[in-house]
C-alpha cells in the first residue's frame, strides 16, 4: 500500500520533470521568435491575425504599454464573455433551451474566467448553453492562460535584458502562447480524452430509461475539448458542477493522471524557460527545486490525512482500512476510481497551481486534508503556480529572498546581476501585501455580516473554513471551492468578482513594473561579493521566505478554521 502511494505520487512527478524540460526549452524558442517545427503550419495563421488586427510584430512595448495592453485585452475579454452569457438564448448550439444567465452571475463568471480563476457560482449543466461553453468559456480558458504566460515572459525579459526599456510585444506573446503552446497540446489531449470516454457532442441531453425502469436524463456537451485546456491552462472551471469528479470529465485513472500532469506542466516548464532565457539554466532549476519541495510535501500530507479517514466513521462500524479490495480512507465526496490517493494528489496539484479543478469534494475532506489545499494557495500560488502567474510570483519571492539575505550579510542585493533597489523593494512589498489584504479583509467581514454568514453550509469551524477558502481561492485566482458555500448571492457574486479581478491585475501590475525597472538597469558582472541565487542554500532561503510570508499572515485564520476543527474531530466533537 505504501509502495503504491509512493509510486502514484512519484511517477507523475518524474513525468513532470521529464516533460517540463523540453517544453520549457521549446517555449524559450517560441517567445524568442526562433524556428520551431510548428512554424510551417502556424506562421501563416499568425501573420493573418496580425494583418487583420493591425499589429506590428516587431514593435516593442515599455512595461506601461505592455500592462495597458494586457488590461485592455482583459477588459475586452470580460465584456465579450458577459455579453455571450446574457445572449445565449438567442444563439445556436442550445438544445436544452437555456435562458440568459442572470446579470450578477454573468458578471461574476466573466470576472472569474477572464482572470483565469474559473470559480463557478453556477452549475454548468443547468446554466450554460453549448455556445456559452465553447465560445464563452473554452475560449477564455485559452486566452486568460495565454495572458498569464505572456506576462511571465515579459517579467523574465525584464530580468535578462540589459539596459533596454522594453519588455516585448503583448499581442505577439499572447498570440504565440495560444497558437504554439496551448493549442497543439490540447488537440492531442482532447483525442486521448475522448478515446478514454469523455463525450464531445452537441446533442440534446440523453433521455434514458434505467434498468429498473426509472427515467434518467444524462447531460452531454462538447466536454473533451474544454477539459483539455481546463487543466493545461490552470483554469479549472468544470463543464459540469462536479468538475473532474464527474465521470464524463475524468472517466479513468489515465485521464486523471493526464489531468494532473497538464495542471502542473506549464508552470513547471516556465522555470526552465526562465533559466534558458537568463542564460543560466541553474537559475531555473533552483526555482523548480523550491517549487517541487512544497509540492511533494503537500502531496504527502494531503494523502496521509485523507487515507487516515474520519475517526467517527470507524465507531459506526465502517471499514476504512486500505485493502486489496478497497481504497479505504475518507471516501465522502470521492470517486471509487480515484480513492483518497489520486484525489489528494489532484487536490494538492490544483492548489499548488492556480487551477482549481477538483476530482473530489474538498468541502468533505478531513480538516487537515482540506487545510493543505488552502495553505498551498495562501503561499501565494508559487508552487508551479498558475500558468505564468506562478513564475512571476516566484521571481518576486526570489527578489525578496535576496533582499533579506543582503540585509543579513550586509551585501548589496542583486538578482541575475541586477541591483535590487528601493523602488523594486517597494513594488515587491506591494505585491506581497495586496494578496493577504484581498483575502483576510473580506473574509473577516463576511464572517460577521448576515449576507456572508447566510452562505455557510456546514456548522461550526468548518463554516468559517468555507468563507476563508472562498476568498483565498478568489484572490489566488484558483477557483476550487469548499463548494457547500452558497456563493450565488449578490454579496458573494460581487465581492468575489472584485477580489478575483484585483487578485489578477493588482498583482500582475507590480510584477510588470518590477520587470520594467529591472530591464532598464545594466547588469553588473558577478563578483566575490555576489550572493549566489542558485544551489541548495538559496533554495533553503527561498523556502523560508515563502513560508514566513505565507504562513505568518494566514496562521490565525487557519487556526480558527481547519486547525480547530481537526482537534474537535479527534476529540469526537460534532457540530
Amino acid at each position: 500500500m505504501i509502495e503504491n502511494s509512493l509510486l502514484r505520487i512519484g511517477v507523475p512527478f518524474a513525468a513532470l520533470v521529464a516533460f517540463s524540460i523540453p517544453l520549457g526549452l521549446f517555449m524559450a524558442r517560441v517567445f524568442n521568435r526562433q524556428r520551431t517545427f510548428l512554424d510551417p503550419v502556424l506562421e501563416p495563421i499568425e501573420r493573418a491575425i496580425y494583418r487583420i488586427c493591425g499589429i506590428q510584430r516587431s514593435q516593442e512595448m515599455t512595461w506601461r504599454e505592455y500592462t495597458g495592453a494586457a488590461l485592455l485585452f482583459g477588459a475586452a475579454s470580460w465584456l465579450v464573455l458577459y455579453l455571450i452569457q446574457r445572449t445565449q438564448y438567442l444563439m445556436p448550439f442550445n438544445p436544452q433551451g437555456m435562458t440568459a444567465v442572470a446579470p450578477l452571475l454573468a458578471f461574476n463568471t466573466a470576472a472569474s474566467f477572464s482572470t483565469n480563476t474559473n470559480w463557478q457560482a453556477y452549475a454548468g449543466e443547468s446554466t450554460m448553453s453549448y455556445m456559452s461553453q465553447m465560445l464563452g468559456l473554452t475560449s477564455q480558458n485559452f486566452l486568460s492562460a495565454a495572458t498569464g504566460i505572456a506576462i511571465s515572459i515579459a517579467v523574465i525579459r525584464g530580468f535578462v535584458r540589459d539596459g533596454i526599456r522594453t519588455l516585448g510585444n503583448f499581442w505577439v506573446d499572447l498570440t504565440r502562447a495560444t497558437l504554439w503552446v496551448l493549442m497543439p497540446i490540447c488537440v492531442v489531449l482532447t483525442l486521448v480524452y475522448v478515446w478514454q470516454g469523455m463525450p464531445d457532442n452537441l446533442g440534446a441531453y440523453a433521455e434514458v430509461k434505467t434498468v429498473e425502469g426509472a427515467p434518467q436524463v444524462i447531460a452531454q456537451g462538447p466536454v473533451a475539448s474544454q477539459e483539455a485546456i481546463k487543466e493545461l491552462g490552470t483554469n479549472g472551471g468544470g463543464f459540469f458542477n462536479a468538475n473532474s469528479a464527474h465521470p464524463y470529465e475524468n472517466p479513468t485513472p489515465l485521464t486523471n493522471l493526464l489531468e494532473v500532469l497538464s495542471i502542473l506542466i506549464i508552470g513547471a516548464a516556465l522555470t526552465h524557460t526562465f533559466g534558458k532565457m537568463a542564460g543560466d539554466r541553474r537559475q531555473g532549476w533552483t526555482l523548480f527545486a523550491t517549487m517541487s519541495l512544497f509540492f511533494l510535501a503537500s502531496c504527502a500530507l494531503a494523502v496521509w490525512a485523507e487515507q487516515a479517514g474520519n475517526p467517527k466513521f470507524a465507531s459506526l462500524g465502517v471499514d476504512q482500512r486500505p485493502l486489496a479490495t478497497q481504497s479505504g480512507g475518507n471516501m465522502e465526496g470521492k470517486e471509487t476510481r480515484f480513492g483518497p490517493i489520486d484525489s489528494a494528489l489532484f487536490a494538492a496539484s490544483t492548489t499548488a497551481t492556480s487551477c482549481g479543478a477538483v476530482n473530489s469534494a474538498l468541502d468533505s475532506y478531513t480538516p487537515l486534508g482540506g487545510l493543505i489545499p488552502m495553505f498551498n494557495m495562501q503561499l501565494g500560488e508559487v508552487i508551479f503556480g498558475g500558468v505564468g502567474s506562478g513564475l512571476y510570483g516566484m521571481i518576486v519571492m526570489a527578489v525578496m529572498a535576496v533582499f533579506i539575505a543582503g540585509l543579513m550579510v550586509g551585501r548589496t542585493p542583486e538578482y541575475l546581476g541586477k541591483k535590487i533597489e528601493a523602488r523594486e523593494m517597494k513594488l515587491v512589498m506591494l505585491y506581497v501585501l495586496i494578496f493577504p489584504t484581498l483575502i483576510l479583509l473580506p473574509a473577516a467581514a463576511a464572517s460577521v455580516i448576515k449576507v456572508g454568514l447566510s452562505g455557510i453550509a456546514n456548522p461550526g469551524p468548518h463554516g468559517f473554513s468555507e468563507i476563508l477558502y472562498a476568498f483565498t481561492e478568489g484572490a489566488a485566482n484558483n477557483g476550487s471551492a469548499f463548494a457547500g458555500l452558497n456563493a450565488n448571492t449578490p454579496f458573494y457574486n460581487l465581492v468575489l468578482g472584485f477580489v478575483m479581478l484585483a487578485g489578477r491585475f493588482l498583482m500582475a501590475i507590480p510584477a510588470l513594473a518590477i520587470a520594467g525597472s529591472m530591464a532598464e538597469k545594466k547588469a553588473v558582472p558577478a563578483s566575490s561579493g555576489t550572493f549566489p541565487t542558485t544551489g541548495v542554500s538559496f533554495v533553503v532561503l527561498l523556502v523560508a521566505v515563502i513560508l514566513i510570508v505565507g504562513a505568518l499572515v494566514f496562521f490565525a485564520g487557519d487556526a480558527l478554521g481547519p486547525i480547530v476543527e481537526h482537534f474537535a474531530m479527534v476529540n469526537g466533537k460534532l457540530f
Binding site: 493591425g54 475560449s139 482532447t190 478515446w195 452531454q220 478497497q326 470517486e335 476530482n359 461550526g460
Partner: protein, 205 residues
C-alpha cells in the same frame, strides 16, 4: 501630448477588441468544432456519451451510475446528485464537512440499511465507499469489497450459484491502470446487465 496619449490608447483598445474577437472565434468555435468532428470520426461511441443499450432500449451510460434498489441487483454508492440521487443533470457531492452531525447520522443510517439488506455481514466490516456519497453523485463503480458484500444477497434473490455471481463480479472489475494508478472498481450497471443476461427469468418461488 495628451492628444497623442489618447490616440495611442484608442489604437491599443482597437487592437485589443479585434484580437479578442479573433482569438475568441479561433479558440471558442474553430477549435471545439474541429475537435468535435475528429472525436466523432474516430471515437463515435465515446463522443456520444458511452450510452449502453439493452436490446433496443438505451438504459444508461457506462460511465454514469444509476439507482438500483431491488435485492436482485448490485447497488451503487449513495448519491447526493439531485433529490433522489443519480440525477445526471445535477452532479455533485454532499459537501458535508467531516464534523457535521448531518454527515455522521447519514452514514449511520446507511450502515443500518446495509446490515438489514445483507444479513450475515460482520459489523465493522462495511466498506467505506458503500456508505459515503461520491464526489460526482454519479459514480458508476463500487469497490471490490462493496461488491463482494452484496454477492450473497444477489445470488439468493436470483436463485443463482454465488460462485457464478462472484465470477461475474470478477469479470466486470477494472484493475489499476498500468498496475499503479487509480483504485480497482466494479461497474455496477454493466455487472447488473450481465446478471440479467445470465439469469433472465425472475427466480422461481
Amino acid at each position: 501630448m495628451a492628444a497623442l496619449e489618447v490616440w495611442r490608447l484608442t489604437r491599443l483598445a482597437l487592437i485589443a477588441v479585434k484580437l479578442t474577437i479573433l482569438l475568441t472565434v479561433l479558440t471558442g468555435l474553430v477549435y471545439p468544432l474541429a475537435m468535435y468532428g475528429l472525436a466523432n470520426l474516430f471515437f463515435p461511441a465515446q463522443a456520444r456519451g458511452s450510452l449502453v443499450r439493452n436490446g433496443d432500449r438505451v438504459v444508461g451510460s457506462e460511465l454514469i451510475g444509476q439507482n438500483f434498489s431491488s435485492p436482485r441487483y448490485f447497488h451503487g454508492r449513495p448519491s447526493a446528485a439531485g433529490e433522489k440521487g443519480y440525477d445526471a443533470t445535477s452532479s455533485g457531492g454532499s459537501n458535508l464537512g467531516p464534523t457535521n452531525r448531518a454527515l455522521i447520522s447519514a452514514v449511520e443510517a446507511r450502515v443500518k440499511a446495509v446490515l438489514a439488506e445483507n444479513p450475515g455481514v460482520a459489523p465493522g466490516r462495511i466498506p467505506v465507499d458503500l456508505v459515503t456519497a461520491s464526489g460526482s453523485g454519479l459514480d458508476p463503480e463500487i469497490s471490490v469489497a462493496a461488491a463482494e458484500l452484496q454477492v450473497a444477497r444477489v445470488a439468493k434473490a436470483r436463485n443463482m450459484d454465488p460462485q457464478r455471481v462472484r465470477e461475474l463480479v470478477r469479470k466486470y472489475t477494472r484493475g489499476r491502470w498500468a498496475g499503479i494508478f487509480g483504485e480497482p472498481g466494479v461497474n455496477v450497471l454493466m455487472l447488473n446487465l450481465a446478471l440479467d443476461r445470465a439469469n433472465a427469468t425472475p427466480p422461481s418461488r
